[in-house]
Amino acid sequence: MIRRVCLVLVLTLVSCCPSFVSAESASQSGGELHFCLHGEPKTFNPLLVEDGQSETVRYLTGGVLIRLNRQTQALEPALATSWKATPDGRTITFHLRTGLHFSDGTPFTSEDVAYTVKALMDPQLHSPTGDSFRSGDGQVSVQTPTADTITVTFPAPVAGLERLFDQVAILSAHSPKKEMAVLGPFYVADYSPGSYLLLRRNPNYWKKDKEGKPLPYLDSIRLDIQRNHDIEILRFRRGEIHIINSLDADLFDRLQKESPAAAHDAGPSLDSEFVWFNQVPTAAFPDYKKAWFRSTEFRKALSLAINRDDLARIVYAGHAQPAYGPISPANHFWFNSALPAPKYDSAAALRLLTQAGFRLEGETLRDASGNRVEFTLVTSTGNKPREQMVTMIQQDLSQIGIKVNMVTLDFPSLIERITRTFDYEACLLGFTNTDLDPNSQMNVWLSSAENHQWNPKQSKPATAWEAEIDRLMQSQASSTSDKKRKADWDRVQQIVFEQQPFIYLINRDAMSAISPTVIGSAPSVLDPHAFWNADVLRLGPDPSLGAQK
């Protein structure tokens, strides 16, 4: 009788509190997380990933030997329980977890890692991920002494070797499903081009939570292909999607007013916006302008005359930090904190210009030959923050008598001008950085590099300071000592600060939108900001939006 009463009581409670039950079950079983991709993933082969959409799929499905914790910025064991790199930076040995299986049930062994590394370094594959490992000519040697040990030897030292393995998703050497057999938390279950991509929970995922429960918590992730950001935020408001990985300042502010709990600003990201002057000797503008742009005093003066605080406050509504160098303060290890952060000072800028032979006549700055200081600053069409920054720079520089004309160009035309014809005077663009290790910026800082924007592809360094940067970059790339590399990089940052080849403006904050229904989120400044810990995310009840799926 007592049992029957208890049963009735329980059933009554259950029927009266459906939300309690659904909340509990949802938070336990995980549910289906929804968010948007801004285009089609171009490949599901993790070794061929180039675009952001494919990178998202790789991150959510790929199993890696070492994982970079996006919050602590430390390397953590993943498929490898431990690893050791030799002091010469050429060889690394991994000890692998045993008894693991790919999503289709194929066993995981060191043979799979050997297969992946060989495929990665195959010149015929042209793997963008593999390019990061190519530091010298020669073959990569792979040895698998046991089923759970593998040693990889590269022909030349590789800077930041361990960190690079965060990008290498392990493929199965034997699975008939090839790259669709994965070791990550989810696998691709369904793909409807132009519509959606469905990732389901990988039942063979190796990771467990503290209580020993298998991860991931989520049953599935549905990635809707949606290019339009306005529609994306509209769907977020309706509760149809749970995450927007990256927001601009306008959208963030709008969202923060409507739903403060959903808007997350993780602080300054690795991304930066900057201006540079064209210093290519063959550029098609008068020689006197080339002389201005080559003058360190001119560049330093202009840097001083730009009010970065106003740019961050007005253009980014406070969701950005003034930037003074190539490494963002968000990059804890590599940032040179000893560098000063000079304040906006138009009087000091004018003094510097006077020392360099310029003179202010009324409201017009003229060079020593009497030419009016005027240049055109190009940026990309349709990028509102950049256009606003140029407009603000126009007013800042007009305070010291410099006239700036703004021209916006569609992106292909802009790229054509800055990389091929060099038919421009100054440019404002941004740099999206996903890698903490500055070695990935070799293609920017080497004077022979194509992306050495102010004067690319130099046969020999045009200036002494560029020669010194070349030497330091090569030195850090061939060193395996983080201390030595950091010292080299600190010096590079100092030279860049002194010479201002790029006038850094701001570091944008990493802003994302995460529905209050998502439990376990911890937004990070590193990409992917909002779902880097997707394996521990789950869906619960929504106290404010009532948008539980």
């Binding site: 407009t391 007013q395 916006t408």
Partner: protein, 268 residues
């Protein structure tokens, strides 16, 4: 002229007057940034508030009106002249010439002009002064906006070609050029006026669209086009209704032009 048309004409005159007196009326230079007051509400210092960079919205509206309302009629005039020449000639001469002109018009209508405009912008020297760049943008609009009018004018000219008065003139020994200029064109004048008035709002809206694409008037110059870019933040309009003023003004001007138009047809 009906009372409604008179009202429309008065409104247009008032707007043109404000535009002419913009230099005296504006509370601040249109490009000056009051950085302590971005997105400010209307006040005595800024009667229509400020934009995202702290620039006085009333000043920008008046200067923007000047740019849009001066250059749009100029572009409309250019396109109407081209359409009148081609359409009248095609309709009057007929035969192979008419077919060639109409085929060229059809081909021209089918071309993706947006890409041409993008290409022209990309090919222009970067050191072109902003005002020259604006004039080029409107010139392009004038040069590219004649196709629809050509078809209408050609059809009307075809009707005139077979009329009795033209037969009489031809039999009197009038040469084709004189027939076209002294007999055909005056009889199509009503249509030319109509096409001109219709084109003005069209070019105002085209400039607005081009500015949104970054092809029209460049910052810091103001135009209705770049003022309308503020509507990208659509959700903010509910809380800041005064930001709708440029849109309201655009709608009023376009409506007034359309209302003024029938009076031309009646009087002719």
């Amino acid at each position: 002229m009906s009372p409604l048309q008179k009202t429309a004409a008065i409104i247009l005159c008032a707007i043109f007057l404000l535009m002419v007196l913009a230099t005296i009326l504006v509370p601040a230079p249109y490009a000056r940034q009051f950085r302590d007051a971005p997105n400010a509400r209307p006040s005595t210092a800024h009667p229509l508030g400020t934009d995202a960079l702290g620039r006085d919205s009333l000043s920008r509206l008046l200067y923007g009106t000047r740019v849009s309302l001066l250059l749009a009629p100029a572009a409309a005039l250019l396109s109407t002249v081209i359409a009148a020449l081609l359409g009248s000639a095609a309709g009057f001469l007929g035969g192979r010439f008419e077919r060639i002109i109409l085929a060229a018009t059809d081909l021209s209508l089918a071309l993706p002009w947006l890409f041409l405009l993008l290409t022209v912008r990309a090919m222009l020297p970067l050191d072109v002064p902003p005002m020259v760049s604006v004039v080029i943008a409107f010139l392009m609009m004038g040069l590219l906006g004649w196709q629809a009018s050509v078809r209408v004018i050609c059809a009307a000219a075809r009707g005139v070609r077979d009329s009795d008065f033209l037969l009489l003139a031809r039999s009197s020994g009038c040469k084709p050029a004189r027939l076209l200029l002294c007999h055909v064109a005056p009889n199509l004048r009503t249509l030319f006026y109509a096409q001109f008035w219709i084109s003005i709002p069209l070019f105002i809206l085209t400039e607005a669209n081009l500015s949104i694409l970054g092809l029209g008037v460049m910052e810091p110059m103001a135009s209705w086009g770049n003022l309308l870019r503020g509507f990208e933040d659509f959700s903010a309009l509910g809380a800041n209704p005064w930001r709708l003023v440029p849109l309201v003004l655009l709608v009023i001007v376009v409506m007034c032009f359309q209302l003024v138009l029938p009076s031309q047809e009646v009087t002719q």
